[in-house]
């Protein structure tokens, strides 16, 4: 048996799994996106109606804009928090034992389902919820704040809460690999703390930041349930558009939206990967 054949055989199981469960479904979605639909059934066709309607409707643009808005704001916040947490764990906590312990502490909330973590915000932020009653009893506000819940604020809060760990983990991983002598060298060379951060640590964390960014943007852009629950169904992103279509049996239209979303997300990831060559850096 030649070496090449062995290699092919070794790769085959994974390739088959991916083909059956990733590639085939996507191809199916693309095909169905050209089909037609009636109230209660879908029929094979090759028509551009779904795309025509999608690109012709002002709702699509609003909704895509919203999706990007959520992704961008969530990215900035998760990056800021995630980077800070990782920095603290790596450089401020000295013993490995404590680093591991504190890192595990960060993951504890993830032992429950993310839907439960999300929904638990609702009674907290509600009009008569904990946040409002505490603020009122402190005398900070007189009237309950309505924008705490069922608003863009609560949607983004939930996103940040749910996805910050996805930023912490890869950045922490990158930071732990930084050779400490590089930081000493920077200090010896007369660099201030901020300069070290900017010229040494951040560049070396780029792969981690990039991986975290990919996680967060794809998760936020593909989400529908967080937006639905935290906005009280009052806001929409692309995921909700798709889920609405599905619940109304409009599979072809849902597929078309899904294809456009997939392409958009792939473009975003493509751009991100141009900024940092993850393979090389890893």
């Amino acid at each position: 048996m030649t070496k090449q054949l062995t290699a092919w055989i070794q790769a085959a199981p994974m390739a088959l799994v991916l083909l059956a469960f990733l590639v085939a479904p996507i191809i199916m979605i693309v095909i169905v996106s050209f089909w037609g639909a009636t109230e209660y059934s879908i029929y094979p066709a090759f028509e551009f109606d779904n795309y025509e309607f999608l690109f012709g409707s002002p709702v699509t643009y609003t909704v895509f804009f919203n999706t990007f808005k959520y992704a961008a704001i969530t990215w900035v916040l998760t990056l800021a928090i995630g980077f800070t947490v990782a920095y603290f764990l790596t450089f401020e906590v000295r013993s490995l034992k404590w680093q591991v312990a504190l890192f595990l502490l960060c993951t504890i909330p993830f032992w429950t389902s993310n839907i439960i973590r999300m929904i638990s915000w609702i009674p907290f932020l509600g009009r008569n919820g904990l946040a409002n009653s505490t603020l009122i009893s402190w005398g900070v506000i007189d009237e309950p704040l309505d924008w705490l819940l069922f608003s863009d604020f609560s949607v983004i809060l939930a996103f940040v809460h749910l996805y910050t760990l996805f930023m912490v983990v890869p950045i922490f991983n990158s930071m732990m690999r930084i050779d400490r002598s590089l930081i000493e060298a920077a200090r010896d060379g007369g660099a201030s703390g901020l300069q070290t951060l900017r010229h040494v640590i951040i560049p070396l964390c780029k792969p981690g930041i990039m991986i975290g960014t990919i996680f967060v943007t794809t998760l936020v852009m593909g989400d529908f349930i967080t937006v639905r629950f935290m906005s009280g169904s009052q806001r929409a992103n692309v995921g909700r558009l798709i889920s609405n279509d599905i619940s109304l049996l409009q599979y072809p239209s849902a597929s078309a939206t899904a294809v456009v979303l997939l392409v958009t997300v792939l473009i975003v990831i493509g751009l991100l990967l141009r900024l940092v060559d993850i393979r090389k850096e890893l």
């Binding site: 209660y40 609003t62 069922f150 049996l249 409009q250």
Partner: protein, 424 residues
């Protein structure tokens, strides 16, 4: 939507699984109806309202038939009936869903002559009239989609042909729910939903086919427009309705929209919302937490809905016989009593009467003052002696129906507009 229904019903399904197991072991099937049906399993799905574990337990006890129930939300129910005909034997669906699903050929018509209590089924489901001189409300009135010409016919007929699409099981008249303690004044019209007084404290349900009807009731009540038929709007009517509601949404009238029963209960109970579209058992659920909540009868009348049982087209032979047996049992009274004690109505009220106390029958059906505490079948106290049901008697409530839940000819257009409204 599967994720949502899973959360929504996980507790119930757990109970169901447990309950069924207990039922199977504690009540070995008595051989009242013969051996054959004992080993038959029928798979039923429907919305949470009538897919009750207690019914499965009771049917196992009395008929020996095992009923496997799946509870889904309204949209998922339609989806399943239309797209997965082999996944069920019995579809427990709403009449307006039938209009959508029947043409798919997934259901078979039922022979009315095999239904023992057919003659006792209330007029609404047969000729559309509650009493001989009542007028038929707008929308998809159940009798208009209740009959077809023959066993394999696909078109609905407007007479009692003897072949039924659905056997009516449960129905009610819906209106707005309010928190009287937080509003502090009488509410008498649908238009109050958009009253700026309740800015940021109103809600409407995010199920397009039902929500649009509530919207129409509101718009008509505001005097903005009179619809030709609220159940079958023209594009202009749809546009204008959404224009009014989109403006209200942008002005911050709504706190949230709800899609599942639980959400509506939580919105009301937590005080986030003081006036909203609501379903009768949700009012009960709020009340049973000790929070005042009224199912407010309004001058313009009710928006009504009805559900029924349909048989899968693939059902035949012994299973089909068992299904008829189940249907006859369903209409024989026990289920009716069980449903009516929660505030719904049964298709054959007179058989249900035997399964209710005089006090219960008086309160729920006749609109009389309760003579003693009214409790739900689950043991919660719903009303005290001296209280009267919101809206009064059966004929008062069902006689004041302004429109039925429906599917309109312009449904796809409406759905797109609905999506715009949500995204606006």
């Amino acid at each position: 939507m599967t994720t949502i229904s899973k959360i929504r019903y996980s507790r119930r399904s757990l109970l169901k699984a447990g309950g069924a197991a207990i039922a199977a072991s504690a009540f070995p099937a008595p051989m009242v109806w013969g051996q054959e049906s004992k080993n038959i399993t029928l798979r039923q799905f429907g919305t949470g309202v009538s897919n009750l574990n207690e019914v499965a337990t009771k049917v196992k006890e009395e008929l020996g038939i095992t009923l496997e129930m799946t509870a889904l939300d309204t949209d998922s129910v339609t989806q399943r009936a239309a797209t997965q005909p082999d996944s069920f034997d019995i579809a427990d669906i709403e009449y307006f869903v039938a209009k959508k699903v029947w043409p798919s050929g997934n259901l078979q018509a039922m022979d009315a002559s095999k239904i023992d209590n057919y003659d006792k089924i209330v007029g609404i489901f047969r000729n559309g009239k509650l009493t001989p001189d009542s007028t038929i409300a707008q929308g998809t009135a159940p009798h208009t989609v209740g009959f077809v010409e023959g066993p394999n016919a696909t078109d609905f007929v407007d007479n009692e042909s003897g072949w039924m699409t659905l056997i009516p099981t449960i129905y009610n008249a819906d209106t707005l729910g309010i928190r009287p303690d937080l509003i502090g004044r009488p509410i008498t019209n649908w238009s109050e939903l958009l009253n700026p007084e309740f800015k940021g404290k109103a809600s409407i349900l995010d199920i397009s086919s039902i929500g649009i009807m509530d919207m129409a009731m509101v718009v008509e009540s505001m005097g903005e427009m009179t619809y030709g038929d609220k159940g079958n709007m023209t594009r202009e009517e749809i546009d204008k309705t959404f224009a009014i509601f989109t403006e209200a949404k942008k002005n911050g009238q709504f706190r949230a929209f709800w899609k599942t029963f639980d959400e509506s209960v939580n919105l009301m109970a937590s005080g986030e919302v003081v006036i909203q579209s609501m379903w009768s058992p949700a009012i009960t659920a709020v009340k049973s937490r000790g929070i005042p909540c009224v199912y407010q009868p309004l001058e313009e009348g009710y928006r009504s809905w009805g559900g029924g049982i349909g048989l899968s087209n693939s059902l035949s032979g012994m299973e089909l016989d068992a299904a008829y047996e189940y249907i006859n049992w369903y209409l024989s009274g026990w289920v009716g009593g069980f449903l009516m004690r929660q505030g719904y109505y049964s298709a054959v009220p007179e058989t249900s009467k035997n399964f209710m106390s005089e006090n219960e029958w008086g309160y729920w059906f006749e609109g009389k003052q309760a003579t003693d505490t009214i409790t739900s079948p689950f043991g919660d106290a719903l009303a005290q002696a001296g209280e009267v049901r919101d809206g009064g008697s059966f004929t008062d409530r069902m006689g004041a129906v302004a429109c039925w839940n429906s599917v309109m000819d312009e449904n796809q257009y409406m759905v797109r507009k609905w999506n715009e409204f949500i995204a606006a």
